[in-house]
Symmetry: C2
Subunit: 127 residues, 2 copies
Amino acid sequence: MNARAAHRPNANHGELSDAALALVATRFRAMGEPIRLRMLRALERGEQSVSALTEAIGSTQPNISKHLKVLQDVGLVNRRQEGSAAHYSIADPMVFELCDIVCSRLRAQLEEQVEALGRGAGPRRRA
Amino acid sequence: MNARAAHRPNANHGELSDAALALVATRFRAMGEPIRLRMLRALERGEQSVSALTEAIGSTQPNISKHLKVLQDVGLVNRRQEGSAAHYSIADPMVFELCDIVCSRLRAQLEEQVEALGRGAGPRRRA
DNA sequence: TGCATTCATAACTATATAGTTATATCCTCA
DNA sequence: TGAGGATATAACTATATAGTTATGAATGCA
């Protein structure tokens, strides 16, 4: 972090260090795979074992394990070992907050486009 | 939440279609590159031309153009042509909201880790 | 019209990573 | 102790994409 930001430790938008930016980007990238979003959503109703998740998502166990590692590495899920089973759970409910924001904005943007198409060109709407 | 979703309370977390999930993931992935986050931040203070952005970021012009295309394709920036110059601007301030959330959570998690290290294992602190 | 500026794109290389198959490791239980 | 189950990891292939260099296309100006 450079000198300008050093005495403004809460300057979110001001001078974010390259390292901090990389961390933020890594989080976003971790959430940038549909299968990982599905896994996070499956974990929303509670802790799940790898095999349960594998079944729920419909993929192979090694693939699910690898994606779980990505999510754990960025601190989005926790791992708890119990006997020979590993149980994963949401570490940071932030993920749902982020998804909700993106979802509602996407919906708004899509509705704008529908609106624009309805007013302008395209097939006439009945009634 | 809009009226349609109001009486379909599962619309967000329940049954998000695969297509919708892919859209959300694509947005996150678009924000998953440090250079793109830097570009978005540079645009926070207002519209910028490609050459101005290239200078501000410190990369090559083709590289900046390519990243701008990614951001435009997912609807995060707008493009305005003026003469021979192209001016880009933030299309969706949502990006800053998302960054703020991730940043503050990252800070909280890091502070927890520092706390844990201070209390527990690791080299003994003198005095 | 000729030249410079601005931007986009094509072509390429290098790297990251999603998914698969095979296997190693650890645990439980008979 | 041996069999079987649960998970992680190694090795591999295929694909996506970040960055570079070269060039095309549009604009503005002398």
